[in-house]
Symmetry: C2
Subunit: 333 residues, 2 copies
């Protein structure tokens, strides 16, 4: 294998989050399935925005959050995703670079505006997301730099990329380049509803080894195998996947391979404020460990630590220095 | 007195906050006096923005935060302040209306962009602010609606209004209209550095009874009377002011008149996350009680409750329903 410049390169929808504190009644009135991510058009985006309470805006995007986490742990990281040349697009680009991530995807100069995710945070800390994909839809194979993909030990992709039409082609192109250079291709299933939309395709990606390392939470895994039985889903997964990381919120997380299962408990949290980004930051911790050849159990612990940080405050970008936290916990030097 | 439509109407700088987690080293490198509010020009704004870490954006502005708090306690409230017809301006306008506040100030169609405050939050929860006044500078006497001012029991003004040139005239005009209709005029001293810039003028406003109700924290009060002795400052204040509310962070707060002093302790807080808006929300609670003829001690307690809510999370707009919190605490029905 040739030398690498990055630990991880991520490809995902480049999104700015618009968060508001809300309650279950609001979700019911707006017919939003609690805890889900729904795709919305511009008209619906406007209606939701007008109905929401006061908002907080901050950069988001699932894979983007993960890549920022990798960089904040001290990893070398890059991101590919599309924003427009507008105010929110500039915010997104500045934020991800301010976190130490290499980000060079050209800004769209025409077409829809930068993607936004309207997130309702309920008092129990759960988040319900409504995504207007906007400019993120215009990510295309032309935005994939072969040189950059080859330069990363791990290519990390989000399942949400299956939603914008051309992004899927970008995804497949990048996976091909990564494998040609002997790199690892990782995928997160993103969301149970997303799995429901693309179950067959995701299963094919896993079974034909386009994906080497899979991230899923309990709901996504059950959705993938259309079963309510967690243990049955794990058994099915062991047959299909190379390495799979399964997160179970307060029940902890595990790494599953054909022959082994390693599990760790969740990291204690004083108060769950906002679960936005929990899975994204868990993936960040695990990927940092994985790319740096740490034992799976330690990578899981690093994931649990990062997830605990992100759910203790609002927003999906870390508020504390993750490297310092990891050092204090003895997980990194 | 004629009938009123509002409990409180506020006039202030209409600002969007841009917050970032930071540390003391960053403040030292940027030569920012910790805990202060500094005025900056566009060039400096750009330099700070480029140097800051990932940001969270949310509507702010001292008097605007207060007025939102009054509305969220169930009070009828209105706000006057200037933004531009740009993206941040629309965010500000939407947010304040989403909180139930009447806001009808015309948007500026030319001139500088909507005001921004770059806020660095250190791990101790302290905030250090850098304000680019932008469009807020264009608030002028023409924006003051006599009808609206007359319609509110209390007119609430922020000391920061002394910074933009024409806003001062708007302030004086509004105070005149309020007094003609027998309303109460309230002023917050805003910031010790602001007091230092306008000490003589503020003392004159208090002594000539342009201001009936004064809000100050310990540092502002000491700055006003140029003394390090808190008790001496309070004694001086009792001679000058009609009614004065003095906040002392974790030492609680008091109402001071010529003849009486009422004090309450601070409301317990699990963890101070971000002190941005503590004074603003204390004023909100007190003003709600004051406008609804509650005893001073109860108004102080309501102020302490609102301040405790705001410092337990990031941003200066309440994350919880203040009315519900006040009901749970037995302060409101």
């Amino acid at each position: 294998m040739s030398a690498t410049r990055y630990d991880v390169i991520g490809i995902g929808n480049a999104i700015v989050d618009v968060l508001s504190h809300s309650d279950d009644d609001f979700l019911a009135r707006q017919k939003m399935p609690k805890g889900s991510m729904s795709l919305i058009d511009e008209k619906r985006a406007e209606a939701i925005y007008n109905a929401m309470g006061p908002v907080i805006e901050c950069s988001g995007g699932s894979a983007a959050n993960t890549i920022v986490g990798v960089a904040m742990l001290g990893g070398k990281a890059a991101f590919i995703g599309k924003v427009k040349d507008d105010e929110l697009g500039h915010t997104f680009a500045r934020d991800i670079r301010a976190s130490g991530v290499a980000y060079t995807t050209p800004l769209a100069t025409e077409g829809p505006s930068t993607a936004r995710c309207y997130i309702l945070v309920t008092p129990d800390g759960q988040r319900t997301m409504n995504t207007y994909l906007g400019a993120a839809q215009d990510l295309s194979p032309g935005d994939i730099s072969s040189d950059e993909i080859r330069s990363a030990k791990v290519l990390y992709l989000e399942g949400y990329l299956w939603d914008p039409k051309q992004a899927k082609e970008a995804f497949v192109k990048a996976a091909g380049i990564a494998h040609e250079s002997g790199r690892t291709v990782a995928l997160t299933l993103s969301d149970a509803f997303c799995v429901d939309r693309y179950r067959k395709e995701f299963l094919l990606l896993i079974r034909n080894k386009t994906v080497d390392l899979l991230f899923a939470n309990e709901a996504e895994l059950k959705s993938l195998y259309e079963t309510g039985d967690f243990d049955a889903a794990v058994e099915a997964l062991r047959k299909d996947a190379g390495i799979a990381v399964v997160t179970r919120s307060e029940k902890g997380a595990m790494v599953v391979t054909k022959d082994t299962i390693d599990a760790v408990p969740a990291f204690p949290v004083e108060r769950v404020v906002d679960t936005t980004g929990a899975g994204d930051l868990f993936a960040a911790g695990f990927l940092y460990g994985f790319a740096n050849d740490m034992p799976h159990t330690n990578s899981l612990k690093l994931g649990a630590l990062c997830a605990a940080e992100i759910i203790s405050h609002i927003g999906a970008r870390p508020a504390k220095n993750l490297r310092d936290l990891a050092s204090e916990s003895g997980l990194l030097k």
